[in-house]
C-alpha cells in the first residue's frame, strides 16, 4: 500500500476542521436566528387522507437514472407552502425571479444553505442545470432545474438528497403587491432522513427556518421587509408518489436522430385538406365544463386543460406516450411518440409546427384558444397533422378540448406492419381521440375537485428525456 504524502493528509485534516468549524458556526448562527426571529410565522398543519391533489412528480429533463422522485422516498408525502407578500415592491415578479435565478444565494440564508452550481453556466438558471445545495451537516442536496419560466423555477431532487420530490419557487404581481411563494411536494430521501424529519422533528423545523428565512430575504430584495411568513404543511400519509417508468435505450437513440428527420410529406397547407385529396379529416370535441363568461379564470377548466394539453397529458399512456426534451421550447420541438399495441411498441417521430394562443371569432362569437399542432416525421406510420386545442367560448363560458386531425397512411416498407396498420390503424386512431377526450374531462374534473385523478391516469404519459449523448455545456 502506498503511503499518501504528509502534505495531503495535513490538507485533508485542514479541510475537515474547516468543514466542522463551518457547521459549528452555521449551526450557532442558525440557532441564534431561530430563537431571535422577529418576523412571525403563521403556521397551519394538517393531515389529509388520499393522494396529494397538487402538482407533483412532474417531468424533469436530463438523465432520469439519478433522479430521486417521491416514489423513491420514505415516509408520508408532504406538501409545504411558504408565502410572503411584499406591499411596496421596487421590482416586478419577473425581475425578482431573474435576480434569484442569476444567483439563488442572494436570498439563501448562508448559515444554513448555499447553492453551488455543478452543471450549467454561472449567473443564469435554465432547465437541466444542476446545483449542490450545501447544507448544515454532512448531507448536501443535489438538485436539477426541472423548469424555468419568467416568474418561476422548479427544482427536482437527485440521488443523495435528504428529500425526494420537487420544490417550486414562484412570484406574481398582485394588485400592487408582490407575492413570493415556495411550494414543495416531497417525501424524505431515506428512512434515516425520515427519522430526523418526522419523529425527531429537527430536520422539519430546520427546513421551515431555512425557507422562511429565504422568504424574508426575498422580501428585502424586493424592497420591503416581510411582516409575516405564511407556512402551510399538509401531510398525505397515503401518497407514495407516482411510479417511475423507464425510457428504453432504443427510444433514447431514436430521439437523438429526430431533429434531423424531415416531415414525411410535401410541405403543403392542410387547412383545405379534404377526403377528395386522399386525406382523412377528423374533428373531435369534448366539453370540459363551464367558466364565468369572459377571459379564462385562474385555476378554472381552461387553465387546467391548457397545462394538460401543453404536457401531452391527454394521451392515455396505455396507448401512447410522448418522449421529448422539455428544455427544448414547445415551438419546433421534436417528440417521439411511443405507441403500444398488442405488446408491440412503435416509435413515431413528430414535430411541433404551430402554437396558437389567441382570441378568434367563430360563428359570430369570440373564442379564446390555446393549443399546438404537430406534423409527422419520416418513419411515422401516417402522414399529416394533428391540432390539439383548448377553447373557451367567451360569451357562454363553455370550455372545450378539440382535436383536429388530417392524415393518410404513409408508405410503410415492412409488409407485416403495413397490413396490420391497414387493418387496425383507423380504429386505433379513433380510439386515441375518444380516450383523449374522456381522459381530459376526467383529469379536469378531478383537478377541479382537488384530487389528482390518478384513477383515470395511472401513470404520466409524458416522459421527457435529454439524450445521454446530447452535447453538454461547460
Amino acid at each position: 500500500m502506498t503511503r499518501r504524502p504528509a502534505a495531503d493528509e495535513v490538507l485533508d485534516t485542514f479541510v475537515q476542521i474547516r468543514s466542522l468549524a463551518r457547521w459549528g458556526g452555521g449551526l450557532s448562527i442558525a440557532a441564534w436566528r431561530y430563537v431571535t426571529r422577529t418576523v412571525p410565522i403563521d403556521r397551519v398543519e394538517e393531515t389529509v387522507a388520499g393522494d396529494d391533489p397538487g402538482p407533483a412528480d412532474r417531468p424533469v429533463p436530463g438523465d432520469q437514472a439519478n433522479l430521486q422522485p417521491r416514489s423513491r422516498g420514505a415516509g408520508p408525502a408532504m406538501r409545504r407552502h411558504y408565502r410572503v407578500s411584499v406591499e411596496n415592491p421596487r421590482m416586478t415578479a419577473a425581475d425578482l425571479m431573474t435576480s434569484i435565478c442569476r444567483d439563488p444565494n442572494v436570498a439563501s440564508p448562508f448559515e444554513v444553505a448555499r447553492f453551488v452550481k455543478t452543471s450549467g453556466r454561472l449567473g443564469e438558471m435554465i432547465a437541466g442545470d444542476e446545483y449542490l445545495v450545501w447544507m448544515l451537516g454532512p448531507w448536501n442536496g443535489p438538485v436539477r432545474v426541472a423548469e424555468r419560466t419568467s416568474t418561476s423555477f422548479r427544482l427536482a431532487t437527485l440521488t443523495g438528497h435528504m428529500e425526494a420530490g420537487e420544490i417550486e419557487f414562484r412570484a406574481r404581481d398582485d394588485a400592487g403587491r408582490l407575492v413570493f411563494e415556495i411550494e414543495s411536494a416531497a417525501r424524505s430521501g431515506s428512512p434515516a432522513f425520515w427519522l430526523f424529519y418526522g419523529p425527531l422533528w429537527v430536520a422539519k423545523e430546520g427546513q421551515l427556518h431555512m425557507w422562511a428565512s429565504f422568504c424574508e430575504r426575498v422580501a428585502r430584495l424586493a424592497g420591503d421587509p416581510a411582516t409575516v411568513i405564511e407556512v402551510r404543511t399538509r401531510r398525505f400519509p397515503d401518497d407514495r408518489g407516482a411510479p417511475v417508468n423507464r425510457i428504453s435505450r432504443r427510444a433514447r437513440r431514436v430521439l437523438t436522430t429526430l431533429k434531423d428527420r424531415p416531415i414525411n410529406f410535401e410541405d403543403e397547407s392542410l387547412e383545405e385538406a379534404s377526403p377528395d385529396d386522399g386525406w382523412v379529416v377528423d374533428d373531435h370535441c369534448t366539453s370540459l365544463g363551464q367558466e364565468p363568461v369572459g377571459p379564462p379564470s385562474d385555476g378554472g377548466p381552461f387553465a387546467i386543460a391548457r397545462g394538460l394539453v401543453r404536457d401531452y397529458e391527454f394521451a392515455d399512456p396505455a396507448l401512447i406516450r410522448a418522449i421529448y426534451d422539455p428544455s427544448e421550447p414547445l415551438a419546433n420541438r421534436s417528440m417521439l411518440l411511443e405507441g403500444r399495441f398488442l405488446g408491440l411498441r412503435f416509435l413515431l417521430g413528430v414535430r411541433v409546427v404551430r402554437i396558437v394562443d389567441d382570441v378568434v371569432e367563430r360563428n359570430g362569437c369570440f373564442v379564446r384558444r390555446w393549443g399546438w399542432s404537430y406534423r409527422t416525421l419520416k418513419g411515422h406510420l401516417e402522414t399529416g397533422q394533428m391540432d390539439f386545442e383548448v377553447v373557451k367560448w367567451l360569451d357562454t363560458g363553455e370550455v372545450e378540448f378539440r382535436i383536429h386531425a388530417v392524415s393518410r397512411p404513409a408508405r410503410i416498407p415492412n409488409p407485416v406492419v403495413r397490413a396490420g396498420f391497414r387493418l387496425l390503424g383507423r380504429r386505433l386512431q379513433l380510439r386515441f381521440a375518444r380516450v383523449a377526450g374522456e381522459r381530459m374531462r376526467h383529469l379536469v374534473e378531478a383537478r377541479l375537485a382537488g384530487t389528482t385523478g390518478r384513477h383515470h391516469a395511472p401513470a404520466p404519459a409524458v416522459h421527457p428525456v435529454v439524450p445521454r449523448d446530447a452535447p453538454t455545456r461547460a
Binding site: N105, R114, K117, T118, R121, L122, G123, E124, R473, A474
Partner: protein, 159 residues
Amino acid sequence: MPDRRYLRIYLSERVLLMRGGRDLAARMRGAATEGDLRVLLDEVITELERGSSTLTSFLRQIGAGSPRVRTWFVGLAVRVGQLKLNGRVVERSPLSDLEELDALGVVIFAATAAFTALEDAQVASAEVVRERIDSLAAIATRLEPLRRASAEHVLGQAR
C-alpha cells in the same frame, strides 16, 4: 463536480482588481475639480462595483467566498499609493491626475478582458457578461479623451 480551481483563482483576482479600481476612482472623485470628470468617475465607481459584485456572485456559485482579507490589503495599497509625491510635496501634483487616469484605464481594460475571457470560456451567462462588457467599453471610450487631455496638459509643458 467540475474542477473550478483555476476559475476560482481568476475570479478572486479580478474581484480584487475591480475593488482596487473602485477605491482608486473614489479617491480620484474626491480630488477631481472638473464636473465632467466627476460624473464619469461616479459611473466608473458604480460600474466597477457592479462588476465586482457580479464576479463575487459567480464565486459564491462555485462554492468560494469573497476574498475579504486580500481586499483589505488592496485598499491599503491604494492608500499607500497616495504617498507617491509625483514632484510636489505640499500641493497635489498634476501628474497624479494623469497617473491615476492611466491606472484607471488599465483597470477598466483588465476588467473588460476578464468578462471577455468568461464569455469566451462560456462559463457564465452570456447575457450577464455581455452587459458588463458593453458598459465597461462605453466607459473606456469616454475615459480615453480625458486621459489624453490630461497627458497633453501635464506632459505638454515639457515641449
